[in-house]
Amino acid sequence: MGEITEFLTLMIPAMVPFLLAAQGTVLSGRAGVFNVSQEGLMVLGAAVGFLVSFKVGSNTVGLGAAFAIAALFGLVLAYMTTQLRLDQFVVGLALYFAALGAAGLLYREVIGVTMEPPLIPTLDDYPIPLLSKIPFLGEVLFDHDLVVYAAFLISAVIYWFMYKTRSGLAFRSIGENPKAADSLGINVTWARTWSTVVGSGLVGVAGAYLPMVYTGLYTEGMVAGRGWLVIALAFLGGWRPHLVVAGAAFLAGMEVLALRAQVAGIGIPHQFVLMLPYVATLLVMVFAFRWARQPAFLGRNYDRESRLVG
């Protein structure tokens, strides 16, 4: 296997957590809800996904449970911001803390202190018939676990929904000008609620994927800031699902590069190599905030009553 093939083959699954979580962030963001609890939701998703898989013996159920618990947090965020109109950022932070606490509590309750850390089986690869036989491309793209395919499919569906359907046109208008949307009979609260619930669920799945893909182990710091990086990713991609795919490839590439450089021992202390994804994000943000557009009403609550005032 060539160096490039191997790199790309590793990069594709590394994209998955970024992809799922960032698409979830973009989904609610385009309706104007700026969720900042991603880091917490990913940690919680990882914990719940791992624990349920461990107890039930099914990774699928684990992924479903991670979706459900994160979606529940999303529902709280949606309710508190659309109905009670509390500050999105502050509520998001509070939910981040609560999710961190819940993750730790659940792991300690279910597993306790053990000598041998519990293990779950990692996800099986499902090579796609025929396609996986294509030289190079087949190996890189079509020989992965099902979540990989799902992540790309979900990205495509979100893109199709937003840009290729009438409902998507209405949906996106909410994040740009909810007053205009409301005046044309588009239900702002409903759109914000479902997109926040589904989007948060995807973030949870992104977290649950982490213990299932590499080691089968759950460790406390395993999310390692990816939840924050996906917010940066949403900005970098201009809150557009197709550009987010490119951004996820970039971040995943940096991550794989850092790991491989560490393994290969290229003479630079590995700490500096591990900084790479973060430093790269910081640098890219300098340019991204110049050109990338964000939904005009992102992070702001809509109050119909103020329609007549403002």
Binding site: K164, R166, L169, S173, E176, N177, K179
Partner: protein, 525 residues
């Protein structure tokens, strides 16, 4: 053929109150088919309120609405749209990064929920736009379009939804004369096509040039409905005032009329020889980059009050902010007390004695959660007057606040009261106290008495006179023509960012000013 048919719109006995304020007092309105109907009146006459009731934005307390003879119940804009009523507001409700077509079809059931085929819609928009002369590219992104074209989008939005009755709220405010002509042409095309149009305006000339009939409103009541053929500008102006032929009262037609003329004492002029403020060739743009002040020249002598009369939206905010050093000028120069000020930071203007009393007191004037004391310090926190050993001397500041509360009769529990808890008049007193605290060289007042009670209004006037007596150059920008005329040593009419006339105190013909600031000035009557 129209005689057998009921009128397009009938509103009967519409009453709308906001708290104790009666905004609409049993108003009737009838709009025929194929008619452009002018709804004419000064600020606060109730014309927009009446149309907001029709469009479902306000719920009336009483009254009924009939469309084509059938009673309708309109509880929301959605109901209004379904009933065939469209309204174009002064501020457009558009998604900036959408195309014209996308904005127009938004919220309709075009193509299907899970498809997005706008081909047909685009054709329909093209057809509507040709039929009514509303030239617009269906694929242009609206944020890149000028105001006039965005307005056409808003009109097309209503037409696309099948509006039979279109309401336009002050549609010409930000349009060029050419755009106004185009708009009026489109309005005629619409009524020729069987629609009805209601034009809300305070500009007499507009109603005369495009309307078939007009209803004049004043103080929330309908005064009269007149056929175009039976009226002229002078007559309309008189109706807007209340039928009196006394030119002294005519100013009410465009003013709020908050103060009776005799309440304001005759000005004792304190104008000095020295020029206090000079501005030359000012060009100022708004936040969107549009030129709202286009080549404005101004001299104010020390002790002189120059009044700027104008209808809101003609560049007043930009002029005030540019002269206060808050908004950079695109070109031109400003000198205050002989010193060139352009390009200096706002703090330098403040230090140099430029005091600004902004129009929007809550947004630009105060820190709502901060105390009166702190609000009085705002802007001079770095001045040696305020500091002792480098630190802000709150003890002294508090003492000054106590004095200011006394001197300016601020009604508050004490200097610690948060400014946001004060009434509008008392907030204005705090802002004035701050402006006058350090003997300003130049004072810019923008709508300084709007929303104030009589006592506060008179108080503001007294303070302004006191300032001029001390040699301060005052620029009074106000939509209250009474106020401008009564206070100013010189009156300048502002229309679309330029001077539309100038009169010294004593030879101001209120009616003439009113006509100049509504764009009638150069027209033959």
């Amino acid at each position: 053929m129209t005689e057998q048919q009921p009128p397009r719109l009938e509103m009967r006995g519409v009453v709308k109150t906001f708290g104790p304020v009666v905004a609409l007092d049993s108003v009737d309105l009838e709009v025929g088919r194929n008619e452009v109907h002018g709804l004419l009146g000064g600020n606060g006459a109730g014309k927009t309120t009446l149309m907001n009731v029709l469009y479902g934005l306000y719920r009336p307390n009483a009254g009924e609405v009939l469309l084509d003879g059938a009673p309708v119940s309109i509880g929301s804009p959605r109901d209004a749209i379904d009933a065939g009523v469209g309204m174009v507001h002064q501020t457009f409700l558009q998604v900036d990064n959408y195309t014209v077509t996308e904005n127009i079809v938004l919220g309709t059931d075009v193509s299907g929920p899970l498809r997005l085929d706008l081909g047909e819609a685009r054709e329909r928009i093209r057809e509507l736009s040709t039929r009514f002369g509303l030239t617009v590219d269906p694929d242009a992104v609206v944020e890149e379009l000028p105001v006039g074209v965005r307005q056409r989008v808003e009109i097309l939005k209503a037409l696309y939804r099948g509006a039979r009755l279109l309401i336009l709220d002050e549609p010409t405010t930000n349009l060029t004369p050419q755009e106004v002509d185009d708009l009026f042409g489109s309005m005629r095309a619409m009524v020729d096509d069987g629609m009805s149009v209601v034009l809300i305006t305070h500009k007499i000339r507009e109603t005369l040039s495009v309307c078939d009939r007009m209803t004049v409103m004043r103080d929330g009541r309908r005064v009269e409905t007149i056929e175009r053929a039976d009226t002229d500008a002078d007559h309309l102006a008189q109706v807007m005032v209340g039928g009196s032929a006394d030119p002294g009262d005519l100013i009410d037609a465009t003013a709020l009329g908050a103060v009776d003329a005799e309440e304001v004492e005759t000005v004792v002029s304190s104008v000095r020889e020295e020029i206090g403020v000079t501005a030359q060739g000012l060009v100022v743009v708004n936040d969107q980059g549009h030129e709202l002040i286009r080549g404005f020249d101004l001299d104010i002598r020390e002790g002189e009050i120059v009044g700027i009369a104008g209808v809101a939206g003609n560049g007043q905010v930009e002029l005030a902010e540019a002269l206060a050093g808050v908004r950079p000028v695109r070109s031109g120069s400003v000198q205050v007390g002989g010193r060139s000020m352009c390009g200096l930071p706002t703090a330098a203007w403040l230090d140099h004695g430029v005091a600004y009393v902004p129009e929007d007191r809550h947004r630009d004037g105060i820190l709502p959660t901060a105390s009166i004391t702190e609000n009085l310090v705002l802007g001079s926190q770095r001045s040696p007057r305020i500091r002792k050993h480098g630190l802000i001397d709150w003890g002294a500041a508090k003492q000054r606040a106590v004095d200011a509360i006394e001197q300016f009769s601020v009604r508050a529990n004490g200097p610690g009261t948060p400014a946001g808890d004060l009434s509008g008049g008392n907030i204005q007193r705090v802002i004035l106290a701050r402006a006058f605290a350090h003997q300003p060289r130049m004072l810019i007042l923008h709508n300084p008495t709007r929303g104030l009670d009589l006592g506060s209004t008179r108080f503001v006037y007294e303070q302004v006179r006191a300032a001029t007596a001390a040699g301060c150059a005052v620029l009074l920008i106000s939509e209250d023509l009474d106020e401008v005329i009564a206070l100013s040593d010189r009156v300048i009419a502002l229309y679309q960012g330029s001077q539309a006339g100038e009169w010294p105190h004593g030879s101001v013909d209120a009616y003439e000013v009113g006509r100049s600031m509504t764009g009638l000035g150069e027209a033959r009557v």
